[in-house]
Symmetry: C2
Subunit: 351 residues, 2 copies
């Protein structure tokens, strides 16, 4: 553990310089230049002496001083709807890893999908002088993004995309299609969708991917069979209740754009005496760690959450380097499990 920290007396460049009887600027040059440049920066002998002493004394440069001088903080701001959403928590793990690899540290804040908080948290981040922003809670009708662009704040979207801005997301349209392919192939012809929040591209794209694919097969989905809802368990439960009340005949399969909504729906189905996987197929989205371990294992479209986080960092890095970047959509895959594995039964089909 190095010593230049909260507790102990910090070792500075000047300390090193004094100790070696050379000038601080020389020490800086040696320590700062990335190995390559170091050669021209100082004699090999001096460089070694400096490096050895720095290591021995546990020197670590003061990031505040460095930032003040270089005008770059190596700080990244990350804004998510809520970290207690497992999906965002995993993406953040990807971000943390990616950022550490590039020498950046990250702040995360929860906006709760509330526009006032989104703005406030963004301001807080900018007041901290982050070099750039990773925005995981973009709304499709967001005005904030346009402002940020106008002000030339470097940012990328993650998790949810908005056309015209750089983003790292799952290919959610494809994900919806995969779910449709699967349910159609199992013989289902009467399905419903728990569609999520209409302001989120994840919800809109997954729903559109599913519905369009379904129609391309010649299937039909009525208006009341697409229910917009919150992403959490309680939201899924309510949506499922609505579907059970409004749709007659009752659908034989449910596609929820989120695993947690799917779990809530499973609860509602059980309350109605229905057995998931037999009386009603259910497919979720994201393949969170829970899905496979549920009492009735849940089929789910697996999105590469960790990779999305990592990719967002790479993308932001490119933006910071002044490169032009295009949105990236990572491919999902389908995991079929007990909740939707079997073909529709003759009984259900005849209903």
């Amino acid at each position: 553990m190095n010593d230049s920290t909260a507790g102990g007396r910090t070792v500075t460049l000047k300390d090193l310089a004094n100790e070696l009887g050379i000038h601080p600027s020389t020490v800086s040059r040696i320590l700062h230049s990335g190995t390559e440049v170091a050669r021209g920066a100082a004699s090999v002998a001096t460089a070694k002496r400096v490096r050895d002493l720095a290591h021995k004394l546990g020197y670590s440069p003061d990031p505040q001083a460095t930032s003040l001088r270089t005008r770059r903080t190596h700080l990244l701001g990350v804004i998510v709807p809520r970290l207690s959403d497992l999906v965002l928590a995993i993406m953040y793990e990807g971000i943390e890893e990616g950022a550490a690899g590039l020498g950046y540290s990250t702040f995360v804040m929860n906006s709760r999908d509330n526009p006032v908080e989104q703005r406030r948290k963004t301001d807080t981040m900018l007041a901290r002088r982050v070099d750039g922003l990773i925005i995981g809670d973009a709304h499709l009708d967001n005005v904030l993004l346009q402002e940020l662009r106008t002000r030339k704040v470097p940012f990328v979207l993650m998790n949810r995309r908005v056309p015209g801005h750089p983003s790292a997301t799952c290919d959610d349209v494809l994900g919806g299609q995969l779910a449709a392919d699967h349910l159609w192939s199992r013989g289902h012809r009467n399905v419903a969708v728990i569609a999520g929040e209409p302001y989120a591209s994840t919800a809109v794209d997954r729903t559109a991917g599913f519905v369009d694919q379904w129609k391309s097969f010649g299937g039909a989905i009525s208006q009341q069979a697409v229910v917009w809802s919150r992403f959490d368990t309680a939201g899924g439960r309510e949506a499922a209740e609505n579907i059970l009340n409004a749709c007659n005949p009752r659908p034989t399969a449910l596609f929820a754009v989120n695993d947690f909504a799917a779990i809530g729906a499973m609860g509602a189905l059980r309350s109605h005496g229905l057995t998931v996987g037999r009386d009603m197929a259910v497919v979720g989205f994201n393949d969170t760690s829970l899905a496979a371990e549920l009492p009735i294992p849940l089929s789910s479209v697996r999105s590469p959450m960790l990779d999305i986080g990592r990719t967002a960092v790479q993308l932001l890095k490119q933006v910071l380097d002044g490169e032009r970047v295009e949105p990236i959509r990572l491919k999902p895959t389908l995991c079929v499990r007990e909740s939707s594995a079997r073909a529709i039964s003759a009984t259900l089909l005849r209903q």
Copy 2:
């Protein structure tokens, strides 16, 4: 939105001073002194002019410059096992809220409960010059904590406690007792415990609270009825399998020190053809948002996760202010649901 940010040209103290024809130090005094001191710092008239202009130009002080000068960063480091553990994610929301209220920003990092990573992340935090640390992943045998203390790094523990260090936790012993009270009162006499990781005080305290209370009632718990396990769903499943294999007669109730482990256990029980709530009672811990919404709603000891996070920040603030602090244990409550609500059946009792 203020303008002093990543994108735009930043407004500095000097800008304000030039604009008003006064000295930067005067501006600093006015802006910095907390209303009280402001009175003595400058004339009311000047103060107003400065404040108005600062507001108009969207001045926000450069935190890096301030830190360099004051030697305080107003940065807090938070280390958790993993943010994808919902429990820690919620605690972090409490931290974020509490920290914002005190004017602090927070870094979070995942250590995955790996000692090497714990040390590395701690180093990274200290290299960033955080003012203090909130440690959510302490191991009972931790040597790092002693080092930090020696080096006078301000820190508090959260979530998991270690005797001799300040901490904000749930009263986990009480939580275990509540679960024991409940199951005993429902007539159970043969129980098993999914105990969690033995290096975590949460696991140890909850298990000890349960077992000791059980024995105080005159109950017995055999060695193989206490199974240490990971905290996640897969860990709970494995532990339940072990219990079902090793315990004869089969227990009629299961106490899992974590909701996710409980959910995994429910899956294992179902695989064995057992119905939770009828053939086997299950009680979890933390009352995460999922518990109430599961197909079979899960009884759970509710821990005040948000409050634990908030409390940790308050505690750390006191430490930073040089106050002496004592560990704080917040009280849990029990939420009884379908998974354990009914009294043990005569059939099971006779086994």
